[in-house]
Subunit: 344 residues, 2 copies
């Protein structure tokens, strides 16, 4: 039977604090390119594009500090969202050659329960890598978080943190399409320029150069913020709470500034949740995939006609994966961080 080399990204050990490239190893294993017998509901996949996402940091923790269902096992490949091609299918819904996206391992080939696949890819006139981003988990996250959790109304004031990131760049564009006034924050001049010139944000804040974020928010939101799309937590959240409007909403998508701290920053202005009657709501895209078809009908025409753009930061080759993944926690990426394993 055909044996193939199968490069893998292995977690060396549980991580505490900021993750480092050296917390992972690249190893060469081998795989038989044939489904084992009696493997119903299993797929043999060739992985094409892998997605680097902030939630993956938590999966590197030891089990007692992991707040999702299943953390990574040391000496095993890490896992995440990806775009893959079906090499062999043990499930009736899939056949050889199908393109799919869902949860896969960081390796060249994977044996994956079909249940881990989220969707078959039907539209290939757009870049395949988009299914790790705008047409994948981050896209659905932006859509569900902004429209379903945020309950936006035309003309409302929206603030987005990590505003050029995989999710943030879309929240800003969706909010503009919805007729909102939108301000974003990001951590470099390059990103701030992108916010205004590429994604159409009305204003942009470089949080690394603002000594007083509260004052900056007061300047850009003299009447206050209706919706804060929360990606970062910590000091940013504290400043935002002082500037929320009555009945404001805070969809909580992430708190990336806190994930690598052994002692998270304290948020002191929570009493404003009462004063302003704020609804602050954590959500996960997993509860919204029933809207995926509706989302595609919304977003595909916008992409095709250029009304919504998507910036990706592409790392070429699985061996670049650890550096790419680690980079998102220091904001080294510009736009959605993708790792290309193979292009077809």
């Amino acid at each position: 039977m055909a044996q193939a080399k199968n490069k893998q990204v292995i977690l060396k050990h549980y991580v505490s604090g900021f993750p480092k490239e050296s917390d992972m190893n690249i190893i060469d294993s081998t795989i038989t390119l044939k489904l084992p017998q009696a493997s119903n509901d299993v797929l043999l996949l060739k992985n094409l594009y892998l997605s680097c996402d902030p939630y993956m940091r938590n999966l590197m923790n030891s089990p007692e500090n992991c707040f999702y269902r299943r953390n990574y096992s040391p000496q095993s490949p890490i896992a995440g969202c990806g775009v893959s091609k079906v090499v062999e299918s043990g499930h009736k819904d899939y056949k050889e050659g199908d393109l799919v996206w869902g949860f896969t391992n960081w390796e060249e080939y994977s044996l994956i329960p079909a249940a881990q696949i989220l969707f078959k890819i039907e539209h290939t006139d757009v870049p395949l890598s988009y299914y790790t981003g705008i047409l994948g988990m981050p896209g659905m996250t932006a859509y569900a978080g902004f429209f379903e959790v945020g309950s936006p109304k035309k003309g409302e004031n929206v603030f987005v943190s990590a505003a050029s990131g995989a999710v943030g760049q879309l929240v800003g564009q969706f909010a503009k399409l919805h007729g909102c006034y939108v301000v974003g924050s990001a951590g470099s001049k390059e990103k701030v320029d992108m916010l205004k010139n590429k994604f159409g944000y009305d204003e942009a804040i470089n949080y690394k150069e603002e000594h007083d974020l509260n004052a900056a928010l007061k300047r850009y939101f003299p009447e206050g913020i209706d919706i804060y799309f929360e990606n970062v937590g910590g000091k940013t959240l504290d400043a935002v709470l002082l500037n929320m409007k009555l009945h404001g909403r805070i969809p909580v998508c992430g708190m990336i500034s806190q994930y690598n701290l052994t002692q998270p920053e304290g948020v002191t202005n929570l009493a404003h949740i009462i004063y302003k009657r704020i609804r602050m709501q954590g959500f996960t895209v997993a509860n919204y995939y029933h809207l995926y078809t509706k989302f595609l009908e919304f977003v595909l025409p916008h992409i095709r006609e250029g009304r919504v753009v998507y910036v990706e930061d592409i790392a070429e080759g699985l061996e670049k994966g650890p550096a790419a993944l680690v980079g998102i926690f220091s904001g080294r990426n510009v736009g959605k961080q993708v790792v290309v394993v193979a292009r077809e």
Copy 2:
């Protein structure tokens, strides 16, 4: 025209930190017991019962630190919810002798715009003082916060802080009536005994004697908390966030532990809002008074038939008002703190 003495509780100056009795003065003024001419829509009230409520602390702040519409003015009477009798009415909906509850001043007689009155009192087979508590603002707060914001389901696990207070004692009883498992926390042995023996809480925590609130919550909620009715904020909230269940809800009614701190405590576990997809929602009873009739239909039979009880802490005489009000911030009150100005 009839002149009367009119004792008043005056704010001496804006307050910072814990309020003290000496931040207020009792003065004897006089009032003409007759509506001024052309005072349409104004009522002359004789105040009977005054309510001591935590939100009043914020109104003692200077304007830049006051987060509600109108802070108290130094050298003027403080104000709050109360039960009053109409002495003379300049509004068609009210007549002499009517009993009403709403916003009034801390003085014996008040001239009040009729718009400040919330409801006319129709049921007098229950104690009149109840309209400062179970049948007034705190009662509606418990009802709206638990049922409308909390979205409880039968069998869910509910935790209440300040659980013997004006609102908390009702949340606990409403939750039991709804078929929930309910644990409360309070700050003395006497209060903790009341939680279990008077209000029917399943378990009770004396937070002043628990060195590790997280461990205590794990003991009482091995499967986690579905609804945390938040009255206190700070360290309690931080411990609760570690113990919330997936899709838990936190109606945020108050954060009394923070109101007197010039630098509020930092809450560090907010990332659990994402991990557990928690909805944390500040609310104010003012947005729910349209449910008042429905609330009375729910609660009056429970009171009359003894299924819901209400514990009041009664201070006799307006001159006891400042001590009674200040006392709620150190938990000196046992149950709803009321000040009796006159009994009829």
